[in-house]
Amino acid sequence: MESVQAEKRKTDIGPPKYEQFLHPVIKKNYGTWKYHEIVKPGVLVHVSETGDKIYTVRMGSPRLINIDTIRMLCDLADKYCDGYLRFTSRHNVEFLLKDQSKIDPLIKEIEANGYPVGGTGKSITNIVHTQGWVHCHTPATDASGIVKAVMDELYDQFTNMKLPAKLRISLACCLNMCGAVHCSDIAILGVHRRPPKILPNLAKLCEVPTTVAACPTGAIAPAVVDGVQTVEVNEEKCMFCGNCYTMCPAMPLANALNDGVSIWVGGKVSNARHAPMFSKLAIPYIPNNPPRWPEVVSAVKNIVEVYAKDAKKYERLGEWIERIGWPRFFDMTGIEFTKYHIDDYRFAATTFNTSTHFTL
C-alpha cells in the first residue's frame, strides 16, 4: 500500500516552470526589453529591441481574495490577455496585453467589478501586510482592516501619480514583522504594551530553560510558585517583543486594552539616489480602534500630506526628512517627540546627534 501510494505520490517537484506562464510576446522578447513608459496611472508599456510592445494594466487587490475573484481575474485574462496575468511583489494584479486598444475596455471592466487601476510611478501602491486577526496567533492588531481603512483614505494616491516620489506603506501586526516593514516609507506596526501573562500550566506546555533563554533582555527567570515549576517576568525589563510567546504558548501578550499600533517613517529599499534606509519611529502608540482605526488613518494621511506638500521631485519620504531634519519633521507634522523616540537598544549610541547640525 505504502509503495503503491509512493509511486503515485509526487514530492519535491518544485513550482511549475515559469516559462509556460509567459505571454508569447514576453517569451519572444524575454531579456530584450529596451525601455518603458507609464502610459497613464496603472498602465505601462514596455518596448522591445524588436519593436514589440507589451502593455501592463495594474489592478489594486486586497490580497485576501476568494477563488471566485481569482476566477474573475482569469476571465479577464482570457478576454483581454490571451489568458496570461501576473501578480506583483506588492500583491497587485498585472494584466499583460499585446493589444493597446484593449486597455480601456479592460480598465472599465476592472473598475466595474469594484477594483482600482493604478499604483505605478509616483504613487502610493498597495500596502504590503500580514495576517492579523484573520489567521495569526500573535498579532497586536488586525492587518487587513487597517489596510482597508487607510487605502480608502489614500485611494486617490493610488489612482493618480501626483506625489514627489513613490511612497510605500507596509503593515505588520506584531514585532515579528512579517511585512518586513522596517524599510518602508511609512510602516504601521502592531505593538503590545503589557508583559506576557504566565498561564498556570506553563511547565507542561513549555521547556522552562528554552523559555528563559528566549528573552532578549533577560526579563524571564525560572521560578517555583506554590510548589509548581514556572517562570516569572521582571516587568521593568520587558519591552513586549513577544518572543517568549513564540517559544511558549503559556505566555500570551495579547491585551485588548493595551495593544495597538505604532507608526514609522522614512525607510526605503531601492538604491535609487540614497542607499536603503530603515524606517524610524514617528508615533509610538495609537490604541486599537476597530473597525476603522480612525486615529491611525488620519496619522498616516497627515504624514503623507505634509510630505507631498513639501518634498521635492524624486525625494522619497526618508530623503525629504534627511534634508529638512527631524526637528522640522516633528514640527511640521505636529507629532510629539517623546523619550520613546530616543533609541535605548543595542545601537542606541549610533543614533544620537553628535553635532550641532540641527535647526531650532
Binding site: K17, P62, G145, V147, C183
Partner: protein
C-alpha cells in the same frame, strides 16, 4: 453551532465594506455564502473586532507526509462557536518565478481549494507563496496530492529554505542585469530537499532582484539578496537625453544634482558620466529609461543577512560579493551557498539567522571560514574602534610563555 455565527451578524466588519478600496470583508462574505469555513472565519473575525484580540490559539504542528514545512497549523480558541474553523491550517504553495500565471493553471488551483478548503487565499503571502487560507488536517494530504498532480508543490515554513522569490526581471523589465526568473527556478529546484525538510538552524530566504531598484525588497527581507548590477559603463543615447531635455526634464537639476556619486555633468548637449565613480544607484537610468541603460558586463552583487527585528533589531543584508557573473549552472553561487550553509549548520544556534551568526562571530571570521576575500565594498566604513583581534604575531625566541 453553524447558527451561532449566522445569528450574530457582523456589524463591525460591515463597516469595512464601505469605502472605495476593494474590501477583504466582501471577499470573505461572498465565500461565506457557500463555504462554511469562510462563514465561521467571518464570525470569529467579528469576535476579534469586538474583543480586540486574536481568537487563534498558539501554533500547532501539522503537515503532509514526508515534508516538514509548507503548512501553518492553526486552531480556533472558540471551536464551540466556530466549529468549521476549529482547524484552519494555511497551505503555502510555491508560486512560479515572477508570479506569472495562466488562467488555466490558476483555475485548477481554485477548483482544488474550492473542494477542500475555505475558498480564501492570499495572492500572495509576503514571502511570495500562494497562500491557501484555511483547511482542516484531514484535507492536507488530498490537497497535496491533487496539487502535485497539477504540477504544484508546497513552499517553505519552519527552519527550512523558504520559498525563493524574484522581481519580474528580464520577462518585462529593461533594467534586469541577470535572469532573476531562471535563477529563482534553478535554486528552488536544486534545493527542494532543504525547502521541504527542516535541516537548518532557522529559516533561510533568497530573494532575487534584477537591478539595484530591488523590486522584491531583497535587501530588507532575504538572508541572501542577489541584486543585479553591471561593471562597465552606463550605455548612453545622447540623442534620447536631448529628447528628454526638450520634453521638460531639467537634466542638471533632476539628474546630475541628484546623482549620489556626483559623477555626471550636462552641458545642454551631452551627458557625461564619470563611470568609475558611479555607484550604480539607478537614478539616472530610472529617470530617463529611453536614454540610459545599465552597462553590458552584467552580473549581480550578493548581499547577506537581512531579517526582521527579533531579537537583535532588524538588519538589512550587506555586501558579501560585490560582483559575480550570474549564469547557469550558477556553480560559483551554489558553491558559496553550500559553504555558508555548512558554516551555519555547524556554528548557528537554534533559531539563529545567518545575519545574527555573522554578527556573533564577526564578519572577518565568517569570511575566512567561507574562504572569501575581504573587500572594501563590504563596508560602509572600516571599523572605528581599536579592538582588533590580531591573529598574526611574531614568536619570541627563547622566551617562556
Amino acid at each position: 453551532m453553524e447558527n451561532e455565527s449566522k445569528k450574530s451578524g457582523t456589524p463591525l466588519l460591515d463597516e469595512l465594506e464601505k469605502g472605495k478600496w476593494p474590501s477583504f470583508v466582501r471577499e470573505i462574505k461572498k465565500m461565506a455564502e457557500k463555504n462554511p469555513r469562510a462563514k465561521d472565519l467571518l464570525g470569529q473575525l467579528e469576535l476579534s473586532y469586538v474583543d480586540k484580540v486574536t481568537h487563534w490559539k498558539h501554533g500547532g504542528l501539522v503537515g503532509v507526509r514526508g515534508y516538514g514545512g509548507g503548512v501553518i497549523g492553526r486552531y480556533s480558541d472558540s471551536p464551540d462557536k466556530f466549529p468549521n474553523v476549529a482547524h484552519f491550517h494555511t497551505m503555502r504553495i510555491n508560486q512560479p518565478s515572477g508570479w506569472f500565471y495562466t488562467s488555466k493553471a490558476l483555475r485548477e488551483v481554485c477548483d482544488i481549494w474550492e473542494q477542500h478548503g475555505s475558498g480564501l487565499t492570499n495572492m500572495h503571502g509576503s514571502t511570495g507563496d500562494m497562500v491557501l487560507l484555511g483547511t482542516s488536517t484531514e484535507n492536507l494530504e488530498p490537497i497535496f496530492n491533487k496539487l502535485t498532480n497539477k504540477g504544484w508543490d508546497l513552499g517553505g515554513s519552519g527552519s527550512v529554505l523558504r520559498t525563493p522569490s524574484c522581481c519580474v526581471g528580464p520577462a518585462r523589465c529593461e533594467f534586469a542585469c541577470y535572469d532573476t526568473l531562471a535563477l529563482t527556478y534553478d535554486l528552488t529546484q536544486e534545493y527542494q530537499d532543504v525547502l521541504h525538510r527542516p535541516q537548518f538552524p532557522y529559516k533561510w530566504k533568497f530573494k532575487m532582484s534584477g537591478c539595484p531598484n530591488d523590486c522584491v525588497a531583497s535587501v530588507a527581507r532575504a538572508d541572501m539578496s542577489i541584486i543585479g548590477i553591471w561593471k562597465d559603463d552606463i550605455q548612453v543615447d545622447q540623442a534620447a537625453v536631448r529628447e528628454y531635455a526638450k520634453n521638460g526634464v531639467d537634466v542638471q537639476e533632476e539628474i546630475c544634482d541628484l546623482c549620489p556619486a556626483k559623477c555626471m555633468s550636462w552641458d545642454g548637449k551631452d551627458l557625461k558620466i564619470m563611470n568609475k565613480w558611479c555607484n550604480k544607484c539607478m537614478h539616472c537610468i530610472n529617470a530617463m529609461p529611453k536614454a540610459l541603460r545599465p552597462g553590458k558586463e552584467r552580473g549581480a552583487a550578493i548581499l547577506i543577512g537581512a531579517k526582521a527585528p527579533i531579537l537583535q533589531g532588524a538588519q538589512m543584508s550587506s555586501v558579501l560579493i560585490p560582483f559575480m557573473k550570474m549564469e547557469p549552472p550558477y556553480k560559483e553561487l551554489k558553491d558559496l551557498v553550500d559553504k555558508i550553509w555548512d558554516f551555519w549548520g555547524e556554528y548557528g544556534k537554534n533559531r539563529e539567522r545567518i545575519g545574527e551568526l555573522i554578527q556573533r562571530v564577526g564578519m572577518g571570521q565568517f569570511l575566512e571560514a567561507i574562504e572569501i576575500e575581504p573587500k572594501p565594498q563590504m563596508v560602509a566604513n572600516p571599523r572605528t574602534n581599536p579592538f582588533i583581534f590580531y591573529e598574526e604575531y611574531f614568536e619570541e625566541e627563547g622566551e617562556e610563555k
